[in-house]
């Protein structure tokens, strides 16, 4: 398996969407599991540090190399086959296949030339109407990358992360061994679990310490442990994705409010509604956008093709909630919508300040909004960095206790206002997974931002939340929060990594912190 020097042709592979930059000497582009294993085995022999990359869309710098070898999975992009078991379809893909590819395939399933006849006819039979349920907004990300960060989709409130929809893995470890790991085969009991290579991993006996990754507990499946392992435990050569039929009905509604308080009040009502109702209408997303974010959309849409064709936001809107409702029965959904509308109006909303879409095609435009917002902020950060090199993307990925979304939101806004830094708050309000993006204009403000983030992180930890909610720890967050994470958890993490990657081939930078 050929390796190429990184400089000068592959310089861009030293960075990712986090805007962090690193260095590496060589890069390899394996096309299949065998080549991947080959390149890993060779790297192990030479004791090279390895950084695995998908589409480099991560926000935490997980794909940024620190010397050694980059393994890019971008050429492992084949959809390998389809099978059916107990009425459920499973799609097998290489780790470098993008979510976009998966969506495109599911829209118009077309079997690969080298598929088995059985898979081909199954593909015909399946037709369209199946979906990969967790639907992360970053569709250009690879499936391997999404699994490795256990990305959460827009519908995470209803359905959870990517990991739970992966049935089986072809796993390449640091030594270059390939192992098929299927759900149900390796499950942690009260003590631990014997891993495929024969080593034994005990369950964690430390607090979670704000990090969701590599935290084995009783009853956990190894597949779920590896989900979110961020390329530090091995590389995903292939995955088998569990598909689900599209829900018969989906509604996406953007509710606009004059004030933040009204939006947060409505969110609280929705949370109550959600636990009270035992109907089949599912609230699969409730996303919040604050006034600053809406203002930025108004200001910047001209510069962004994806948002240019979106309707003007209501002029009075000072906050918005995007609510997705899904279910099988149209009547139930309409009933739910009616109830939501009442709550909306009770919270001071006006029907004419709501945007309603039914079905995935109509909802697409709202998806561009949720995807466009972080992109817009990145553009702003880049512009600021032109002025001051010390500035970098400063965003939180905290997940506080679910019921306290409004309280956290108010805290973020209060602190941002007090700091004088420009800031934007948006995200999954019912899960208290709000993204706070800050735009420091100079080094002093950057410092202020760091301080604020650390203070918030402490609060999150105190409350038993996560400091890396959905975009992973990557290269960004360990140094930032290293002091806050309990020593016992660091030790557990380090030991767990050592079991999966004894030579520290994948986790050089983490070791320094741990």
């Amino acid at each position: 398996m050929q390796r190429k020097p990184v400089m000068p042709d592959y310089e861009s592979y030293c960075r990712d969407e986090s805007r962090l930059g690193g260095t590496a000497r060589e890069i390899a582009f394996p096309e299949n599991a065998r080549q991947l294993a080959e390149v890993l085995a060779a790297a192990a022999k030479e004791k090279l540090k390895v950084t695995v990359q998908g589409a480099r869309t991560g926000l935490a710098g997980g794909a940024v190399p620190e010397g050694g070898l980059i393994i890019s999975t971008q050429n492992m992009n084949a959809i390998l086959g389809l099978r059916q078991e107990a009425g459920v379809y499973y799609l097998r893909v290489q780790g470098g296949v993008t979510l976009e590819d998966v969506h495109a395939f599911l829209r118009r399933p077309k079997p690969g030339d080298n598929w088995t006849d059985e898979a081909k006819s199954l593909c015909e039979e399946m037709g369209s109407g199946q979906r990969f349920t967790p639907n992360p907004t970053e569709t250009t990300a690879t499936m391997g990358g999404l699994f490795a960060s256990n990305a959460k989709g827009t519908n995470s409130l209803g359905y959870g992360g990517v990991g739970s929809y992966v049935n089986s893995l072809l796993w390449a470890d640091a030594g270059g061994s390939l192992r098929e790991i299927t759900r149900g085969e390796y499950v942690f009991d009260q003590k631990g679990c014997t891993l495929p290579g024969g080593s034994y991993m005990t369950v964690a006996d430390t607090p979670k310490g704000g990090l969701p990754l590599l935290y084995p507990v009783q009853g956990m499946d190894l597949v779920d442990l590896l989900a979110g392992s961020e390329g530090r435990a091995g590389i995903i050569a292939e995955l088998e994705l569990r598909l689900e039929p599209e829900p018969a009905e989906s509604w996406g509604i953007v509710y606009f409010f004059d004030t933040d308080a009204a939006a947060l009040g409505f969110a609280a009502e929705l949370a109550n509604w959600r636990v009270q109702e035992e109907n089949t209408a599912m609230l699969s997303a409730v996303e919040y956008y604050d006034g600053a974010t809406l203002e930025m959309v108004r200001r910047e849409r001209e510069n962004m093709a994806a948002l240019k064709t979106m309707a003007e936001l209501p002029t009075a809107a000072g906050a918005a909630l995007y609510v997705v409702l899904q279910g099988e029965d149209p009547e139930t959904l309409e009933l739910a919508l009616g109830e939501h509308l009442e709550l909306f109006e009770a919270a001071g909303g006006r029907d004419e300040d709501s945007w309603a879409a039914m079905g995935s095609a109509e909802m697409e435009v709202f998806d561009t909004l949720r995807h466009g917002v972080p992109e817009m902020i990145n553009v702003q950060v880049d512009a600021l960095r032109l002025e001051c090199g010390a500035i970098h993307k400063t965003a939180t990925d905290f997940e506080g206790p679910g019921q306290r979304g409004a309280e956290y939101c108010e805290m973020y806004h209060r602190d941002i206002a007090g700091s004088g830094v420009e800031g934007f708050v948006f995200g999954h309000i019912l899960e208290n997974r709000l993204h706070v993006n800050l735009l420091p204009r100079n080094e002093a403000e950057q410092q202020t931002c760091h301080q604020m983030m650390q203070d918030w992180a402490r609060r999150v930890l105190e409350d038993g939340g996560l400091i890396a909610g959905e975009s992973g720890v990557g290269r960004l967050r360990l140094p930032l929060y290293g002091e806050i994470i309990p020593e016992s958890r660091k030790k557990q993490l380090s030991e767990t990594l050592r079991i999966l990657d004894p030579e520290g081939c994948f986790s050089g930078d983490w070791e320094a912190v741990l």
């Binding site: 829209r107 118009r108 369209s128 509604i253 953007v254 240019k308 064709t309 979106m310 309707a311 003007e312 309409e334 919508l337 009616g338 939501h340 509308l341 909306f344 029907d351 004419e352 300040d353 709501s354 945007w355 309603a356 879409a357 039914m358 095609a361 435009v365």
Partner: protein
Amino acid sequence: MRILVCVKQVPDTTEIRIDPETHSMIRTGVPSVLNIFDRYAMEVALRLREQAGEGHITVLSMGPAQAEAVLRECLALGADAAYLATDRAFGGADTLATSYVLAQAIRVIGDFDLVLCGKQAIDGDTAQVGPEIAQHLGWPQVTNAAELTLQGDEYLAKRETDDGYEMLLLPPPGVVTVTKPPFEPRYPSVKGKLAAKRAEIHILSTENLPLDTAKAGLKGSPTRVRRTYTPAVKTGGVKVEGLPPRESVAGLLEFLQEKVPGEA
């Protein structure tokens, strides 16, 4: 003020793919949508009604039964009534036969101050149905209007021309075709969307429209499609490799002179 908006359901042309083997258009799985220019026309109608502080908006479409979907979209946006002209006898119509049926429908529904159409439908791109309706009705027209407002008893249109804009006053009743306005069309509200699901769509056919059936559908169409084919796919262009810059650049400029006259 009574406004009628003509709308059409079209395949989403951005989703159309060409089968690389048969070179034919793949239409299965291509979603049907409200023609974008008709959406603009609908938005213009809503704004006129807002400006006037009163008004009734009717939407009209000709097409198969499933074209009902785009009428419901318009109802959700705020249209007050919807009519679908659907009949086997209307099938295979060219623009003349289509505009004839629509004009007859407009006469029957009755009493409009303004008929709005999208500038053109994105499947056929003819831009003919609007003016032909106007001719059948004997009404004045403004085509290619980017904006339309009320001015006294008349409509003031900003018409995009080849040289810029013309501001035109149009007395009612008249026909206006709408191009991309300087604003984006709105989305329906929750109430609008829910109400539209239950609203009645009035069906017009040869049974309740006064028609000379010889003027409708394929029979009433002077034009025929003799053949369709997919245009030659754009093959990869010239790629020059391993030449010194002086030669490759000279080659490029020669190419540009032919391909993009007036440049270089």
